[in-house]
Amino acid sequence: MSLESSSTTVSSLAPKEPLLRLEAVGKTFGTHVVLEDIDLSLAPGEVVAIIGPSGSGKSTLLRCINQLEPPTSGRVTIRNTAIEAGHTPTRRELMALRRSIGMVFQSFNLFPHLTVLRNVSLAQERVMGRSREAADKVSMQLLSRVGLADKAQQYPSRCSGGQQQRIAIARALALEPEIMLFDEPTSALDPELGLEVLAVMRELAEGGMTMIVVTHEMHFAEDVSDRVIIMADGKIVEQGPSREVMRSPRTERAQRFLHAVKDR
């Protein structure tokens, strides 16, 4: 996979806040424009929900932030590290960037050949250089926090989807990220199992974690997030305080989307 062969560079900048800033970020695959001119900034502790129809570029936007998809234009700044489209970041810069950003996927992506405990401990050892004992200790704490300490010695295939997703959250948290990205974390789960994942996320948000959540869970967007962003056709069509955007959207495109979703 050519995730590192991107076209981006890193330079140091001064400003302290916000924690994350996207400036005119764009992404095209060939002639197909997936993201266009995205500006977004995130203060520490802020929780942002991104909603919108499928194919609107929500997931791609998330993946551009941690360079899983290198943007083709614009600039992504995390704290004082800026990654500019068009220059390749060094491996070390990329690893540092990704260490400060945790990511949770729609399909969990746990390592099926490792026990739950090893899943959570692996990157701590390989990326942070923790000893196995230290890593396992942290992992057990995190697994307790998501209510799965008793699953530590099981393999992921023995866990339900909701449990797997909570393990994936623990795995991401183990690297002590400053920002957590959630890419439709409950979309592969039936509603009941989705709830236990949402509960963990709600707790994280209340604990002050900075989060960006791409989701179809309208209640979560309205109740838990501070801000809602509605995307359509690769652009941000509306954003603002959650309740305001969800209840009285101003743009026609946002109204149309919310209308369709709420009518179900």
């Binding site: 960037l97 990704r98 992506n109 390592f111 099926p112 692996l122 990157a123 990326v127």
Partner: protein, 214 residues
């Protein structure tokens, strides 16, 4: 059939096992870089790998053994029959293993790569901790059937004088002017040797199957 005859045929068993094991080891090891080249982003590496794999697989094994054993015997390099057979069958196995690995690679869920990237793991750990263990599990059934094929193909090493089962059988047959029973025993030995490989592979597959994301 006398014990003497049986014993003489059975003397070939260790050589058959050794030749199969050594060729397989060479092939499994060299198959890794070959597969990496085959999947490289650099066109030149890919082309080299393609030509190597094509050549190794297109020329019959017996011709390879003759080429190495008789053809390379220049006075500077010369191989014992066992060495020549190991190198020949090992290289052919490498080409086949490279293709088996490549197929297995495609079977691993793309999310596994993404997860390691998102966690900031280095290329080495990505393969060592996450991709390779799953690759091995996926490749195992194909590798095992290949190994059984290799066990049988190792008989062609008798043509350059490796005293494995087929060589011993033909030797005893010529000495005693008996054919049917002697080659039947040889055949039985090949069956007995391939059964454990098949069993082990099935057992391993059953136990490891659930631990791969596909």
């Amino acid at each position: 059939m006398t014990q003497d005859i049986l014993l003489n045929i059975a003397l070939g068993v260790p050589w058959t096992i050794a030749l199969t094991a050594v060729s397989l080891a060479i092939g499994m090891l060299l198959g890794i870089p070959l597969c990496a080249m085959r999947m490289s982003k650099l066109g030149l590496l890919r082309a080299i790998a393609n030509i190597l794999i094509l050549t190794l697989r297109a020329i019959p094994p017996i011709v390879w053994l003759f080429l190495i054993f008789f053809g390379l015997d220049t006075g500077y390099v010369s191989f014992t029959p066992f060495q020549a057979a190991s190198i020949g069958l090992g290289l052919i196995t490498a080409a086949n293993m490279a293709e088996i690995y490549r197929g297995a690679m495609a079977a691993i869920h793309p999310g596994q790569w993404e997860a390691t990237h998102a966690l900031g793991m280095s290329t080495w750990y990505r393969f060592y901790d996450v991709i390779a263990p799953q690759l091995f599990r996926v490749a195992l059934p194909s590798a095992a059937s290949y190994a059984i094929g290799l066990l049988k193909d190792s008989a062609i090493a008798s043509t350059i004088g490796v005293n494995e089962i087929a060589y011993q059988a033909s030797h005893v047959s010529q000495r005693t002017f008996r054919g049917l029973d002697i080659y039947a025993v040889a055949g039985l030995l090949y069956i007995l040797l391939s059964l454990p490989i098949a069993w082990a592979s099935r057992w391993a597959d059953l136990h490891l199957r659930s631990r791969v994301a596909r």
